[in-house]
Symmetry: C2
Subunit: 183 residues, 2 copies
Amino acid sequence: MALEHAILVSLLEQPGSGYELARRFDRSIGRFWTATHQQIYRVLRRMETDGWVAVEAVAQDARPDKKVYSVAAPGRSALGAWLREPVEPETVRHELAVKIRAAAFEDPGELIPEVERHRESHAALLARYLTGEQRDFPDPSALDAQQQLQHVVLRGGIEYERMTLAWLDDVLATLHRLHRHTD
Amino acid sequence: MALEHAILVSLLEQPGSGYELARRFDRSIGRFWTATHQQIYRVLRRMETDGWVAVEAVAQDARPDKKVYSVAAPGRSALGAWLREPVEPETVRHELAVKIRAAAFEDPGELIPEVERHRESHAALLARYLTGEQRDFPDPSALDAQQQLQHVVLRGGIEYERMTLAWLDDVLATLHRLHRHTD
DNA sequence: CCCCGCATGTAACACGTTACATGATTCG
DNA sequence: CGAATCATGTAACGTGTTACATGCGGGG
């Protein structure tokens, strides 16, 4: 229900092709919404049928043609309507948490390398966010509304990664403690 | 791919019926994995066919009969195998973040009540977690392995809610600032 | 008497994932 | 010459959501 809206936001920020959208969903938007190119092409076709987006075929030299999508008036008002209706607080899906509780029925020490892998991947993501923040928002006092809102979402990602890193350290300490006791 | 495993963990912690599992997924397990009863019944039937769980029909007086499921040996080894294979760090889906970026194209002030609603719901969840922590883990030095692992997962939930509350305050401050400037 | 809780299910549909397919150009 | 990037797509499958269905017992 929200992939359409994420696409509308992305196209309002900057029109682009399905391929370009897929790349954005691997980067900035992927922080809070993921989608593969197959999904994006499918939804774009539906949005085009519904008149939410307009398409323009663009020929390129030395590259395949592309279809550049932009938001049409009905899409824009659909976004406004969605903004005004409440969404439910997200349901979290945390596979690692399932594993941690599962570890009680196996050797908890076995989970340590897996948790360390996650820790590294979250540390890398935090580093990328911080670099991106420096690059895109060097002077927080000189941002327009759109950038301020992008920035506050990015700060959410940064705080999420910091919190997760601290929690994974807590998890690792717990696993190490249990590991020693079963030696 | 992981609903099976979440069910296995829940049944290892305590055997129960599909209905009871659905209620647990609304409470403790719902912190990191959600499922409706329809999904649970469907997956339980498959797990029974695969020999992962054993069923015992239990007649109750003044209540409908129920099927109590417990983990069989093949289910237990499937859980062990899953624990040993790596899972990818979760993909976050944060609808509110989409809305915040969408607010740049409408009146940002309109989003304030929605964000406040989310703030209240996260505050209520945090309060529930803290109460549950007091009740279930009053003396952290006297916990067995299973409880320590449940506790560290709960601490993750608590820290997540704290971080989210702080971030939503940041979001609200940003929206208020933008609102004043468009007066 | 009606609604709520217990308990299990079917059916249809929406959404997401994986695999496969095509074809051009650029870079090492 | 092979791999990577650009660009769009089909097909099959698996997972998740919504609506509907059934039936008993207890409480207001």
